[in-house]
Structures are given as structure tokens and as C-alpha cells.
């Protein structure tokens, strides 16, 4: 880790001014930034510590009924916020399936959005990586790439965004509130992260000095509370990044799907909202055949970026399963193993098609 200047501003304006200078990085908990700095992947000259900024750690309901989550709210505090978890159960479940209790206690929700890929070649500074070092190439393309993207990738970069939290947020139409040197602006979460194209080093729409100050969920997003799930496939039962994950939410009216929301995780450089798959379900009965159809649609554009065709098949299955679980209803209490296939699976056995 390089030596850096350390600044701890007490006002937002001061923080933004400080971070507008080249080589600056905002520090919240540091659960990702310090890891990247220890790996010499990120070497900021100046750390702008925002942990003492006022008013960024609140969860509030605004007049229009939307829910506003301050960027410094801790992952665990949001997940265990009773009112929030009741209205957005899949978000709470996604949060609790991520990382470990220790990391969730420290990590901020703003930092969760901004966490960087876990691509092994991005982390290995001896490897070529266009994201870490623009123009150097991508050693993952021909390397160990079983976990890489199947949607939205480019020959420049096949890395994925690892967040669990962002997946249900994308499905629910979350808005990212940004403040910067030129004032404030709102960006839909689905537009916040960029696909790699030929500049995978530019990962979000944030300009220098811009800070995520809050995440908003619109009032109507709470309408899915009764039928919301997040499901995550992992190589161990806990404390692992997703191989692939899915958030599914349904608004049912008399057994008919009035509206569906679907997003997929760990398949692209951004949380992947599957709008065309949602459209497949609109007006349909909440039945497995339609869930399978929607799942196929969600991956209609998918293609392997390496040795990862399996991910497409597993992705389809997890979307179908998440929809099945959502239609069965949000569990009355948080499963002991959040987002796990080994959480009890109400209704999954009756009509489920065994693929294995």
C-alpha cells in the first residue's frame, strides 16, 4: 500500500471539493477499498474519509412514499431494519447472503454499489487487465474464466459485478442520488454501472469528485413485498460470492401476474435487469411453464465469454426457481440460510422439474 494524504472532511461540500482533485478516493468503511489498496490494485494519493459526514446514515421514508437509504448506512443495519425488510424482503435477503456478518457490519451501502469485480486477473497485478490498466489486454479471455460474464461483456473485459445487494435494487427500479462539484443528480441504478465496451476501467457514471449520497426505492417498489425472493448459487454454503444469482418479485392479482421484476447477478459488469423476461410474465398465471419461459428469455442474449456456458444454464434455472419461490410467497421470517437453495423451499418440490 502506498502512502497517501488523509483528509476527513466534516461537510459534504468539503468532501466533494477534496475528492475532485486527481488521485483522490472516497473512503467509507474501506472493506473493498483497503483490500484493493493492499493488493496495489488501487493506489490513491489522497483518501477522503467520509465516515464523519453528517446525515448520510439514515433510512427514511420521503413524502412521495419512496424510501431513501443514506450511503453510509451499514449493510447489516439496512438488512435488519424491520420496516425496510418488511417492505423490501428480497433486498434484505440479498444483503444477508453477502460476505460475512463482520463485513456486513462495516460495509456501507454506497460502497456496496461501488465494489469492484472479483475477477482473478484484475486482482493479480502481474496479469494483463484492461480494467486495471487500460490497454494492457485481458488475460482472463484465454485464462481461468469459468466465473466470468455471459451478458454485456466485450473482448476488452469479461469481468462481473459481484454485488448481491444491487440485484434486487435493479429489479425494484432503485435510483442513485449523486452529489458532485456541479450539483446533484439522480441516476437509475440500472444506468449507474457501465458495461465494459472498450473502456472497462470506467465502471460507473460517476465523474471525478462525485459521491453517491443515497439510494432511493420508489414507493411502488414496496408493492412486491408479498412475493419477493433473492436466490444465490455458491460453491460453499456461506461466505462466498455468487456463481450466479437472481432476484424475482411478483405482484399477483387473483393468481395472475400483474407485474414481474427480475434481475440477475454475477453475469455481467452490472446488475442485470431482465425487462424482456418480465414482459413475458405480465398477465400470465404464476405457473412453472411461464417461469421457465421467462428464464429462457432472460438469457436470450447470453453468450459464453470463455469456459462458462454452464453459467447460462444455471442462470436460467435460478431465475425460474426464484420466480417459483417468489410466487409461493415471501417467507414469514428470514431463512436461516438467506438466499440459499438449502433454505426451506416452500412449494418447490411439488411441480419442480429435476434437471440433474
Amino acid at each position: 500500500m502506498n502512502r497517501f494524504d488523509y483528509i476527513r472532511p466534516t461537510s459534504l461540500d468539503e468532501a466533494i471539493a477534496a475528492a475532485s482533485q486527481p488521485g483522490s478516493a472516497f473512503l467509507a468503511a474501506g472493506t473493498n477499498l483497503l483490500d484493493l489498496m493492499k493488493g496495489n490494485i488501487t493506489r490513491p494519493d489522497r483518501i477522503v474519509d467520509i465516515t464523519k459526514l453528517p446525515d448520510l446514515d439514515r433510512i427514511e421514508t420521503l413524502e412521495d412514499g419512496s424510501t431513501r437509504i443514506g450511503a453510509l448506512v451499514k449493510n447489516a443495519d439496512l438488512a435488519y431494519h424491520e420496516d425496510f425488510a418488511a417492505r423490501f424482503p428480497a433486498v434484505a435477503e440479498a444483503l444477508l447472503s453477502g460476505a460475512s456478518a463482520q463485513l456486513r457490519n462495516a460495509a456501507s451501502v454506497g460502497g456496496n454499489l461501488l465494489q469492484r469485480t472479483r475477477c482473478r486477473y484484475f486482482y493479480d497485478t502481474a496479469s494483463a487487465c484492461n480494467k486495471r490498466e487500460p490497454g494492457s489486454g485481458c488475460d482472463s479471455l484465454e485464462g481461468e474464466n469459468a466465473g466470468q460474464a455471459v451478458l454485456g461483456w466485450s473482448p476488452s473485459c469479461i469481468a462481473t459485478h459481484p454485488s448481491d445487494f444491487c440485484v434486487p435494487l435493479a429489479a425494484l427500479g432503485a435510483i442513485v442520488e449523486i452529489k458532485g462539484p456541479d450539483g446533484s443528480r439522480d441516476v437509475a441504478l440500472t444506468d449507474f454501472h457501465r458495461l465494459p465496451g472498450d473502456r472497462p476501467d470506467i465502471e460507473t457514471v460517476l465523474a471525478p469528485g462525485e459521491l453517491v449520497v443515497a439510494i432511493r426505492l420508489p414507493a411502488e417498489a414496496a408493492g412486491f413485498a408479498a412475493h419477493s425472493r433473492y436466490l444465490k448459487l455458491r460453491e460453499r454454503t456461506s461466505y462466498a460470492f455468487a456463481l450466479v444469482s437472481a432476484a424475482a418479485m411478483l405482484r399477483l392479482e387473483d393468481g395472475v401476474i400483474a407485474e414481474a421484476r427480475i434481475a440477475i447477478g454475477s453475469v455481467a459488469a452490472k446488475p442485470w435487469r431482465a425487462k424482456s423476461a418480465e414482459a413475458v410474465l405480465k398477465g400470465m398465471k404464476a405457473e412453472p411453464a411461464f417461469f421457465e419461459k421467462a428464464a429462457r428469455e432472460a438469457f436470450a442474449e447470453a453468450k459464453p465469454s470463455g469456459d462458462n456456458a454452464d453459467k447460462i444454464e444455471l442462470g436460467r434455472r435460478i431465475v425460474a426457481r426464484a420466480l417459483t419461490l417468489a410466487s409461493a410467497g415471501t417467507p414469514t421470517e428470514m431463512p436461516a440460510l438467506p438466499a440459499s437453495p438449502f433454505a426451506p423451499l416452500p412449494g418447490a418440490s411439488a411441480n419442480g422439474v429435476a434437471h440433474v
Binding site: M1, R3, F4, D5, Y6, R8, L27, A29, G30, T31, L34, D35, K38, G39, I47, D49, T51, A76, Y80, A99, S100, A101, Q102, L103, N105, A106, T237, S238, Y239, A336, L337, P338
Partner: protein, 165 residues
């Protein structure tokens, strides 16, 4: 350039001066304050050996910049036993053989204390296992750890019931 922060460590307030902004809480304790009970297993938030309580919450001290924690109250493994009386979690770890080599143990115990304070796991073994999954144990003492946490949770519950009565 020197930096100065104030920390309450195991109940004692201390003003701490150091010359490097890069120091994490973990390295501050281990290398500068010689509080070596907290262990470094990975230094990257991937094993839980460095778990401490900051303002009552369990976190990984390897991914916590010391400078950023000015004013915090911290409990490490050295501060758990009171007046030579082991904390119930410590006693339960011994009784249930919740460790072998002992290297992950300070982190496991601090994590267990944090988990019990959070109050989400209760005595449900599956919730305890999930809640303790941020602490790797290469020796494989997980069965004893789970039993120890549940036992300590129960005794904490009984203590509360006793107080209420």
C-alpha cells in the same frame, strides 16, 4: 507527519500517536500496542481471525483504517474476561472444545460475542452456523464452536431472565 487518535481499548481510553496513515486497527494492536491476541490470518477480510468489537459490533480489524476510527470504543480478546472471570463464551469454548490450534479462536470468540449481541441467531444451530461462517477454522472445530455459542447464548438468556426476576 504524525497522526493522533483517541481509542477506548478494553475500557481504557488511550491517546495513540503514529506516523503512518496506512496503519490498520489490526496492525496497530499487534505491532504498535503489542496487543497480540487478535490474529492476522489473511489481512484481506477473508478469514475472520482479526475480528474485534468496534462500538459493540464485530468487524474485521484488517480492513479498518486506524485513522478512521478516532473516538471508537474497541473490545479485543484481551478485554473479554473480567476480574479473572472468563466470559461465558470463553468458558463455553473450552468446555465444548471449540478450537484446536487456537489461532482463529480470538476471532471466533469475538465473533460469537458479537453474534449474541446482535440477537438474530438465538439458539437455532443453523442460524448460529450461518452467523459464524465469517470465521474460518482450518482445524475444523466448527461443531464445538456451534455448541459453545449456543451454550453461551443460553446462559446469556438465563442471566437476563434472572435479572428480570
Amino acid at each position: 507527519m504524525d497522526f493522533s487518535i483517541s481509542l477506548t481499548i478494553n475500557g481504557v481510553e488511550r491517546r495513540i500517536t503514529f506516523d503512518d496513515p496506512r496503519v490498520t486497527l489490526l496492525d496497530l494492536f499487534r505491532e504498535r500496542l503489542h496487543l497480540t491476541g487478535t490474529k492476522k490470518g489473511c489481512d484481506r477480510g477473508q478469514c475472520g481471525a482479526c475480528t474485534i468489537l468496534v462500538d459493540g459490533r464485530r468487524i474485521n480489524s484488517c480492513l479498518a483504517l486506524a485513522l478512521s476510527h478516532d473516538g471508537a470504543s474497541i473490545t479485543t480478546i484481551e478485554g473479554l474476561a473480567k476480574d479473572d472471570q472468563l466470559h461465558p463464551v470463553q468458558a463455553a469454548f473450552i468446555e465444548n472444545d471449540g478450537f484446536q490450534c487456537g489461532f482463529c479462536t480470538p476471532g471466533q470468540i469475538m465473533s460469537a460475542v458479537g453474534l449474541i449481541a446482535e440477537g438474530h441467531a438465538g439458539t437455532d444451530p443453523e442460524r448460529v452456523r450461518e452467523g459464524m461462517s465469517g470465521n474460518l477454522c482450518r482445524c475444523g472445530a466448527y461443531a464445538g464452536i456451534t455448541k459453545a455459542v449456543i451454550e453461551a447464548q443460553k446462559s446469556a438468556g438465563e442471566a437476563r431472565t434472572g435479572e428480570a426476576a
